[in-house]
Symmetry: C2
Subunit: 219 residues, 2 copies
C-alpha cells in the first residue's frame, strides 16, 4: 500500500517544487501523436499505482483498469472510434467540418500502451459513504485517478491521450469486461512526438482558452 | 493565459522531482478538519488558475467556480449537508451506523475558503468536440480541474475537502447560480489541522485500500 513507501514525516514542498509542478501542469498535453518506441515494461503497473493515490468517494476505489494489448480488440476499438468520429464529423458543416476532418483525434494507431478505465458500479467498498445523493462520484473518482496517472506519466516524459469519441455502450463487449463495469475513458499512452505548452486544439485553431475570470462568480 | 508564463523550452523532470510528485500524491488528503487562520487573499484565484491547466474535452473549459463567502449562503449549504448526512446515517445500522455517526465528513464549519464547482452544460466552447457520444465528459473535465487544484493547494500546505453529502438539486438555488450550471462539487479549503499519508477513513476504520492488482485486468 502507498503508506508503506511514504516518508514518515510530512514532506515540505518548497517554491522550487511548486514552480516545477506548475510546469508539469502547463506541459501536460492530451497527446494524439505518439512515437512507436516501446515503453518500459512496468509502465502500466506504475501508472496505475499512481492513479490509485487519487481521492475516491468514501475510499471506495471504484476505478478499474483494463490494459488492452490483444490486436483484435485494439482493432475493434479503433473501428468503434472511426465510426463515432465519422458521425461526429457529419454533425459539423462549412469551415468547422473542414477543420474537424483535418484533426487527429486518437493515437490508437500508434500508442504502444492502451488502458481502458471503468468504474465498478456495484462495488460495495466504501459502504456507499458520500455517494447516496451523488452516485456520479464513482465516475468522478476514476477521473481523478486518470488525472493523477496523467501527471505521473508526463513527469516521465510519457504522454497520454484520452479518447472519448467512442460508442461507450459497445466497449464492454469489445473488451469483455464484467457486466457491472461502466466505461469511463480509453487512454492511449506512449512517448509523444512533440512536447508543447499549448493544447493541440488551440494550435490547430479549433478553440482557444478564455480568461480565468470568465469562469468565476462570487457569492 | 497559461502559455504566456510557460517556459519556452520543454522542461525536463528529473528523478528528484518525480519522487516529490509521488510524495505530493501520497500526502494529498480529503481534509475535514481545518485550522481557522485565513489563507492568503489571492488563494482562490491562484487555485482556480491552476485548475484551468487541467484537460477539458474539446478544449471546452466547461468548469465554473463560485466562491462562497456570504454567511447566509454558507449556513444554507451547511444545513443542506446536515440533512443529507442525517439521511445517510439512517441508511446504516449496527456498528456501521455507530462508526458513521462519529465521522467528521465536512469542514464547512471551519474552512476559511469555500468554492462550489459546476459545469456550464450549455457552453458551446469546444463546439461539442469529443462529447457527442459521452456528454458526461463535461463533468469529467471539471473533476480533472478539481484534482489539479487539489495538488496545487497541497504543495502550498493548503488542504481541500470535497463534500458530496449534499442534495445537489438544491445547491443552485442556495448559491443563485445560472440555470444551466450543473453542480459537481463543494470544496472546503484551508490549512489542515494535521498532515497524514493515510486517508482519514482508513485511520477511522471505515474502509481500507486494496492491492493494486484487484483493480486490473489484461485484455
Amino acid at each position: 500500500m502507498a503508506s508503506d513507501v511514504a516518508p514518515k514525516a510530512p514532506p515540505v514542498f518548497d517554491e522550487g517544487f511548486r514552480d516545477r509542478l506548475r510546469d508539469l501542469l502547463v506541459w501536460r498535453r492530451d497527446v494524439r501523436r505518439f512515437r512507436t518506441d516501446p515503453l518500459p515494461s512496468d509502465t502500466a503497473l506504475r501508472l496505475i499505482e499512481s492513479a490509485r493515490l487519487a481521492p475516491s468517494v468514501g475510499l471506495s476505489e471504484p476505478w478499474r483498469f483494463a490494459t488492452v494489448s490483444d490486436p483484435e480488440r485494439r482493432r475493434a476499438v479503433r473501428e468503434n472510434f472511426r465510426t463515432a468520429n465519422e458521425n461526429a464529423l457529419a454533425g459539423y458543416s462549412g469551415e468547422k467540418a473542414q477543420l474537424y476532418a483535418t484533426l487527429k483525434l486518437s493515437g490508437m494507431d500508434q500508442a504502444p500502451l492502451q488502458i481502458a478505465v471503468f468504474t465498478d458500479e456495484t462495488s460495495e467498498q466504501g459502504s456507499g459513504l458520500g455517494r447516496a445523493t451523488m452516485p456520479e462520484t464513482f465516475a468522478y473518482s476514476a477521473v481523478a485517478a486518470i488525472h493523477a496517472m496523467w501527471l505521473t506519466a508526463r513527469a516521465e516524459g510519457i504522454g497520454i491521450g484520452w479518447v472519448s469519441i467512442l460508442n461507450p455502450a459497445e466497449i464492454p463487449a469489445i473488451l469483455d469486461t464484467p457486466s457491472d463495469w461502466r466505461f469511463i475513458a480509453y487512454l492511449c499512452i506512449g512517448y509523444p512526438e512533440i512536447d508543447s505548452s499549448s493544447p493541440a486544439l488551440e494550435e490547430a485553431g479549433w478553440e482557444r482558452r478564455r480568461p480565468t475570470m470568465d469562469f468565476v462568480i462570487e457569492r
